[in-house]
């Protein structure tokens, strides 16, 4: 989408600044009312979604050029989508999150790349992962587990661990736990093992559409050859990539299930019984890509039309992604099914969840900003009195681990699968 395609949204932005906050109806305190890490950190209006729309318009009208400062405002953002939710509280026609992604993509195409991200993309292109590790090490997390190898056999379900679980030594056990749960439930599934490739989602968010597409095409082809029609993943970023981006950008029809959704179904179907008490007070962090960005993508090709003279709608009606139907309840239902576990909620949850700080390339390009964002979330978790912050995404967990290490914070960082395993 060229920058010109942002013009309408930019001109219809009203600078209401809702994009800076969680939906106001949900505000319960001064401290936890903010929605956008980028504006909280960067402060100038350009660091908000509305501000970026204005930047696009300013560039389009030749009023300004892309400077270091502009790049900073565009990229110092986790693309968490809180702005999108809040904007769409009152607007049916604006797509701030999609617009911000387009802006990034345009800048990258025009050669305005972040130097910090270059090695990351290099790693993706040569080693097929986002952590700059050798592709030979991918699959090491499997260790001694006996799992069907879809490079050799076929199955309808592929378990996709994702780069973070595959290469992050501290977190790999979660993928192992997830696999064991699937095995316990007698699910017929396989993995791509060393051939598993990055989903490409982060590359997309960083503005590298082609790199994303390369990964997507590869994965879809590999799965097709393996007879896969469903992908299960414990990583919310991969989940989003497969469910939304692959469908929208690569025409994928693959069913996509997050591990936590799957476990929820198993529990409700009586196929998984959680009997061992886990006496702990936890709070749940909604990953952006599972929560508000986890809604099902419905392909749409249409045009804007006007009704009542000037009111904007679409022909055919355009699906609305505003976080109303994100994946919020399954993880909570899973936690509630664990005996002895007490779930206490933070103020900003579900569609209003504060970002962990890892997304959009922020943890790679702006580690201080990313760390600060995570620390804010940890503070919110502490305010609940919980012993642990639980999530369903390794990128969130990594950022929280980094934010809590070495500063005397007692807050544990856990994945839902770990708690499920303890309850089995």
């Amino acid at each position: 989408m060229p920058l010109e395609d942002l013009r309408l949204d930019a001109m219809r932005c009203t600078r209401c600044a809702y994009c800076k906050w969680i939906p106001f109806d949900l505000v319960k305190s001064w401290r936890f009312s903010k929605g956008c890490p980028s504006i909280e950190y960067g402060k100038f209006h350009s660091y908000s979604a509305g501000g970026r729309l204005i930047t696009a318009l300013s560039l389009l009208e030749g009023r300004s050029t892309v400077t270091e400062k502009v790049i900073d405002t565009v990229f110092k953002c986790t693309l968490c989508g809180q702005c999108d939710v809040s904007c769409k509280m009152c607007r049916y026609d604006l797509e701030p999150l999609a617009d911000m992604r387009e802006l990034r993509s345009t800048l990258v195409q025009d050669g305005h790349e972040l130097l910090q991200l270059k090695p990351v993309l290099e790693g993706l292109r040569t080693e097929f992962n986002m952590l700059g590790q050798s592709k030979k090490l991918r699959g090491n997390w499997i260790a001694d587990l006996q799992i069907k190898d879809l490079t050799k056999e076929k199955a309808k379900i592929v378990f996709h661990a994702g780069c973070r679980y595959s290469f992050d030594g501290e977190l790999g056990h979660v993928a192992r736990t997830a696999v064991k749960i699937l095995q316990k439930a007698d699910v017929d599934f396989g993995i791509m093992g060393k051939q598993e490739n990055c989903c490409g989602g982060h590359a997309y968010d960083m503005g590298y559409r082609q790199d994303f597409r390369t990964r997507a095409d590869f994965n879809l082809r590999a799965w097709s050859e393996a007879g896969v029609d469903t992908v299960i993943t414990p990583c919310s970023d991969c989940y989003f990539a497969f469910k939304r981006l692959y469908t929208a950008e690569a025409g994928s029809t693959i069913k996509v299930i997050h591990m936590v959704e799957f476990v929820d179904r198993l529990i409700k179907a009586g196929q998984l019984k959680l009997t061992k008490p886990v006496p702990m007070t936890v709070t749940y962090h909604d990953p952006c890509h599972l929560g508000r960005q986890g809604e099902t993508y419905v392909p749409w090709a249409g045009v804007e039309k006007k009704i009542f003279g000037q009111a904007v709608c679409y022909e055919p009606p355009r699906p609305r992604y505003n976080g109303a139907f994100g994946i919020y309840e399954p993880p909570r239902d899973v936690l509630k099914a664990i005996p002895g576990l007490e779930l206490v909620e933070m103020e900003r949850i579900k569609e209003a969840g504060w970002c962990c700080g890892a997304g959009g390339g922020a943890s790679q390009a702006y580690p201080e900003f990313s760390r600060w964002t995570a620390t804010e979330r940890i503070e919110e978790a502490k305010s609940t009195g919980a012993e642990a912050i639980v999530s369903a995404c390794p990128w969130c967990e990594r950022n929280f681990l980094d934010a809590t290490s070495g500063n005397g914070t007692n807050m544990k960082v856990l994945d839902i699968m770990e708690l499920v395993e303890q309850a089995l």
Binding site: M11, P23, L26, F44, G51
Partner: protein, 561 residues
Amino acid sequence: MEISRDAYRAIEDIVGPDNVTDDPALLDSYAFEVMAETVRPDQSHFMPRPWAAVLPGSTEEVLAVTRVCNKYKIKLKPISTGWYHWAAPLIDNEPTIQFDLRRMNRILEIDEKNRFAIIEPYVIGAQLQAEVMKRGLNFSIIGAGSSCSVLASACAYSGVGPGAYNMGGNAEALLGQEWVTPGGEIIRTGSLSSGCGWFCSEGPGPSLRGITRGVFGSRGGLGTFTKCAIKLSHYPGPPVMEAQGRLPGYRLPIHENFRVYTIGAPDWDAWANCYHEIYDNRIGYIFHKQFGFAGANIAPAMWLNYIDPTKTLNDVETALKDPEIQKVIEEARISFQFVMAGNSTDDIQLQDKILDAILANTGCYKVKRYCEQDFAEFTNMYMQRLGHKHCNYVWVGGYLGSWMQPGTPDFVKKYAPIAVKTFERDQKSHLLVECGGDALMGPGSPIPGGGQTALEQFVSYDSADRESIKAAIKHMEDAVVDEAANGLPPGKESIYLQVGWPQEKVFDAWAKMPQQFILNFQRKIKAAFDPNNLGDRNYQWLPEGWGQKKPVEAKPTEPPK
């Protein structure tokens, strides 16, 4: 045009390099303002660009930067949440810096016992309300909603909203305040001036605050307000608003001490009578003609659609074909939202009885569908938190208000039908949203205790379409003519239009005001507190002798001595 390097460096030394910028794209994020397209050449969305944007973190930094501005003769324009074209600089090529006050965002103190909160400029309504409600307190959130700065509305803008009738608007709620004048001094008003704390806005002797705001404040045109205290009122509801359901139509269960109604009137006479009886009977907590802004012909379809998270605006068209929806449209044609709050069950039950007596006496009624639980709970959420005010732009991103002359209900009921008829006429161009002529919204009473109301016509236009913008401008210009033809003073639209006028034209218009005293007074106040003319004409003044028979040399950027 560029700020001088010396000035920039001086400011950088005060606030730090991260808190000042002169990057053009970043500056454009301040130049861009809603309604700019109605006053700028070629319907540009950009007001004049500031020469730098500065983020001060304290009163001391505000003061220091103000002094730099005095030295280098740079105008300054403070904004907090900022949401109107007049928040941006007004004059092209005039050296101006924009203060973005977002770093000054603390609630400094909540004195629960004595019922006031001390706040900085970037505390928004939602934040303050959430914190004070924990303590069983509340205040009136302004009509522009809870995304807006409370301090700005109290010190520098208007401060009226649906809760003003019961709790007082933010003008009445304003207690002590701290003001950095454009001339570079700190002035504290009321009891604060005398070192006696924040609790009182009057005195000592004549109330100093009399020069900082009247029916509205200086709107960024006379310096920077850096702290203020707001009086709080008792809140008989729960300490936390637990919103239920899915967005966007969150619902707030109705507490046993509350009632939430939409009241309909068969005609404007009954509407006016109902308002008077409400005033006389002293019931009501939140009182606002709100939902009709979307256009009486289609608003119910829009709102009932809105609370369904599976629906889009496409579905509004479909909904209009439903005879049940048409019934609601007729019932709600002239209607307003009315929330009552009681200290006890007895209290609220009595208020219910009184309301029923008022309705029986005036021929007004409860709008059935809107009073059903789902919509009533949505109304409750909407009206108490006012977090959906961006819905003003729901149709297509452009909205402006016209008419809205304040007056008694009897005064307003006379112009309402005229506003309706003329708006119907204007919609025939198909260049404005065709919502029917009645898209009127307004507070039950912006002055506490009742006695006055006002109705604003909500004109929705496509801010990305030149012809639609032009139609919106034409509507405003025609409204001025329609008002004059009906012996009415100009409405809100004239304030909007004036933002785009050259200085001389503005002075000419003000010179026609029947009483000039205030403009001359304000000129002299400006000369005293803004000797280097750093504030813009959001603070209104008239050059001496302007508009009188003898020609006067216009020095638009310098106040006469």
